[in-house]
């Protein structure tokens, strides 16, 4: 009997030894990387060696992986290595972005105001959705005015120049009107903190990556309109860029209409791959430049990412109009000759080098002084613009001296559309 137990124990010990040896042997030989920024070894490249560099501003030799993504740097087991990652595959999710992308040497708390990106985005209308929430609550008698009280997440900014210094977190459980519930269920799908709706045409991440990882750029069509051949989901995953095409913006914008009677969102079908037909909604009017250019060619970083103040709605932060580039009958658009090599225009141009900006160049600037760094004033008095998404060059004229009869005081786009709207 004793010999039998001895044999059984020997067999079990042998099996355990073989199992342990086999498990250990299956671990790959680690590929070590010691990023300059952290000076600490990480083994992530053991499996992720083929991953594309995420951007020229974030070279892997300098940043490594862990400083942005978190995770266990020395683990060779996938589950263990990924267990403590921030935001899953998306460290820019607003819930974790401060840990991933923040810090005063990166994207928050910087002395240079234009670099404090996280605070600006967190208080931006795209993150708070304050205008939509206030509008719906006002429409259904839940608040007395259109002034916002709630945001997707609570935000405060004691120095906000808009007079709105804080917004409370929108709490559906405290709402009694069932239509507010339907609004929450059907319509709160496009702020920066929420996952995209299903469907390739809605494909986007949350947080910074919602715009700066433009998955739609990698969705191609073949032959006839709408024949999608690749999903791009893998190809574009590890990308951060300021080259953002209109169809990435269209994962939220121009995607459909709200039905205020039923509080449902009626989504347009398909992809926005044909500019003329898909850029804007069918009822919308637009000019040739509005659909030929990309959203980021006209709308500034402040409009898109916020200016650090808490705004009531989208209309309060958007300010660029046709006259920003074209002027009026009585005024030319504002311009600026670049004489300071530290001008932020050079930084912006260097991030997306579609044009070689030089000292002495004269560019257009917005009414708030934001440089339209991809424009130039030409010697003949006309202007040129290099499209940020593809570098295509356009020439355009000022209104002054043209046959336009538009009242300089009436510059909303709908007035311009009366003569310049394009037929589809």
């Amino acid at each position: 009997m004793q010999r039998l137990w001895f044999a059984i124990a020997s067999t079990m010990l042998f099996m355990i030894s073989v199992l342990a040896w086999r498990t250990e042997s299956q671990h790959p030989r680690p590929t070590a990387l010691t990023p300059t920024l952290t000076g600490k070894v990480e083994y992530c490249l053991t499996c992720h060696v083929d991953l594309d560099e995420i951007s020229p501003s974030h070279p892997v030799e300098t940043f490594g992986c862990v400083i942005c993504h978190g995770g266990e740097p020395l683990a060779l087991d996938a589950d263990l290595a990924h267990a403590s990652m921030r935001g899953g595959a998306n460290p820019s999710d607003l819930a974790v972005v401060e840990s991933s992308c923040g810090g005063d040497i990166c994207h928050s708390g910087s002395a240079a105001v234009h670099r404090d990106h996280i605070q600006r985005v967190a208080t931006s209308v795209q993150a708070t959705y304050a205008g939509a929430i206030a509008n719906i609550r006002y429409t259904f008698g839940e608040q007395a005015s259109l002034s916002p009280t709630f945001a997707i997440n609570a935000v405060t900014d004691s120095s906000s120049q808009t007079g709105i210094t804080s917004l409370e977190e929108f709490d559906l459980s405290s709402e009694s009107n069932p239509l507010i519930g339907k609004f929450s269920e059907n319509c709160l799908k496009c702020h920066l903190g929420v996952e995209a709706s299903s469907g390739e045409e809605n494909a986007r991440f949350t947080g910074c990556a919602a715009c700066h990882t433009p998955l739609q750029t990698f969705i191609r069509k073949e032959g006839e309109l709408g024949a999608i051949v690749t999903s791009g989901a893998e190809e574009g995953l590890h990308t951060l860029t300021t080259v953002i095409s209109y169809n990435q913006c269209n994962t939220c914008h121009n995607r459909g209409n709200y039905d205020l009677r039923t509080m449902e969102f009626l989504q347009r079908a398909g992809h926005s791959l044909d500019r003329l037909y898909d850029y804007y909604q069918p009822v919308a009017q637009f000019t040739q430049c509005e659909y030929t250019l990309d959203c980021i060619d006209c709308h500034t970083r402040t409009e898109a990412m916020g200016d650090g103040d808490i705004h009531a709605n989208q209309k309060d932060i958007e300010y660029v109009q046709c006259k920003t580039c074209h002027g009026t009958l009585t005024e030319l658009p504002q311009t600026k000759t670049l004489t300071n090599p530290d001008d932020i225009a050079f930084t912006l141009a260097s991030i997306n080098p579609v044009t070689d900006l030089k000292l002495g160049d004269t560019i257009l600037v917005t009414e708030k002084g934001e440089p339209l760094w991809n424009t130039r004033v030409l010697p003949d008095g006309n202007y040129t613009l290099f499209a940020k998404a593809n570098g295509q060059q356009f020439i355009f004229q000022p209104v002054m001296g043209s046959d336009c009869k538009q009242d300089p005081a009436r510059q909303d786009s709908n007035f311009c559309h009366e003569c310049h709207a394009l037929e589809r």
């Binding site: 010999r3 001895f6 044999a7 020997s10 067999t11 010691t34 920024l37 070894v41 300098t62």
Partner: protein
């Protein structure tokens, strides 16, 4: 074929399994004890003969990375690791420019434009009596 009793078979099999288990264990122990952690980044670099760098030369040393300059007053070396986040700066005309976030430095490492807040540090250059030169990062 020689006859082997059940008892002897069990005895032989048990001992064989024990021996193999022991070898596997011993192998694991050797592997464990032989583990070598990743070596620290080097801090001293052999640059070869000083005579290879004539007066007036500016030599980029990408592996360090550093810029070695030989002027009338002697050798100086400048770290090319950007003091902002650690990317390797590159020469652009008379300036050194970080390709990551566009910090700009003068030829002596002085900050011309942020986001870097500190100048590029000078590195120590030593020449041995036999004319061999080394560079120390720290």
């Amino acid at each position: 074929m020689p006859y082997i009793s059940r008892r002897n078979f069990l005895k032989l099999a048990s001992r064989t399994l024990l021996a193999v288990s022991g070898l596997l264990g011993l192998g694991s122990l050797v592997r464990f004890l032989g583990y070598q952690s990743e070596p620290d980044s080097p801090t001293v670099f052999d640059l070869g003969a000083a005579a290879n760098y004539p007066v007036g030369s500016h030599t980029f040393l990408p592996d360090i990375p550093a810029l070695l300059q030989h002027s009338e007053s002697g050798f100086t070396a400048l770290s090319l690791t950007c003091t902002h986040l650690g990317c390797t700066v590159q020469q652009n005309g008379s300036e050194l420019v970080c390709p990551c976030h566009k910090s700009r430095f003068g030829g002596a490492g002085k900050i011309l434009h942020g986001p870097a807040q500190k100048p590029l540090p000078a590195l120590r250059v030593e020449i041995s009596p036999d004319g061999q030169m080394t560079l120390q990062k720290s």
